[in-house]
């Protein structure tokens, strides 16, 4: 089985459309940060941040020559990211976490309703409000 932590970082890195555009661009050839910035409607500073996140995930490597930072796609990491099984599992873990939040909300709503209807209810309501997932 694959290790989950690095893959999580890869998926996180690829969760952003701008970063996917950068990876797609690098799949054609290496490029400098300013070359990456050109087709993207964003500041160079923003591109640098995306590049740093991609590098931290292991998807790309960078190398500085003089004042130019060149970026290179690590295809092995990308093909590892294509391991759908791991991604399918993550999908279901997210679903089942959300299910837990729904059940917790139901429980606290019922407890609150019970205290409103029966003030002498012996089981104290301890509403554990959870934030709605957005």
């Amino acid at each position: 089985m694959l290790q989950h932590q690095p893959l999580d970082r890869v998926f996180q890195a690829l969760s952003d459309p701008s970063r996917r555009a950068i990876v797609d661009r690098l799949s054609r050839s290496d490029a400098s940060v300013s070359e990456l910035a050109q087709p993207l409607a964003m500041s160079l500073a923003a591109v640098v941040q995306h590049v740093q996140l991609l590098e931290a995930s292991g998807l790309i490597r960078t190398h500085k020559t003089g004042r130019v930072r060149n970026c290179h796609l690590d295809r092995d990491v990308l093909s590892q990211a294509e391991t759908w099984l791991s991604q399918r599992r993550t999908l279901w873990e997210d679903n089942l976490d959300r299910l837990g939040e729904v059940l917790a909300r139901q429980k606290s709503e019922r407890a609150r309703a019970a205290t409103l209807v029966e003030p002498t209810n012996t089981t104290p309501a301890t509403p554990r409000r959870q934030r709605k997932p957005t």
Partner: protein
Amino acid sequence: MTTPLSAPITTHGDFSINRVYDAAPADVYAAWSDVATKAKWFIGPEGWSQVERTLDLRVGGTEILHGRFAATGMETLFTARYHLVEEGARLVYAYDMHLSGRHHSVSIASVEFIGDPEGTRLRFTEQVTFVDGTDGRDGTLSRKRGTAAHLERIASCL
């Protein structure tokens, strides 16, 4: 996207996820059998919105969840058929995933609702066959098919 030069690769796998919920098995089961409750948690990731949802929870009954990503226009289609329905105890269903019209995977999923001192232990097990030619270990084929489509598919399941 170009057509793969060789026949698509078929890959297989399985996984199990365990969760303990502070709720009675009947309540956890209801979150799977009631379409309105299921719609609160059985959804796509951020950026995804529902197009259609149906649920007919009985043996031979089907479930559909059709959605779309606003940013890319990528469509996800989950179609399931229930093979085992034991109220409050077990569900077994087979499902297909289509991504923008392409058949991505075929799965058998089992859900067990097990009584536990803390509430309910849920065990989800999926056996999956990926049918659209993706080999997780070898990037050769994927390079022929183009990186962009793969990235879109990764994003679609995040």
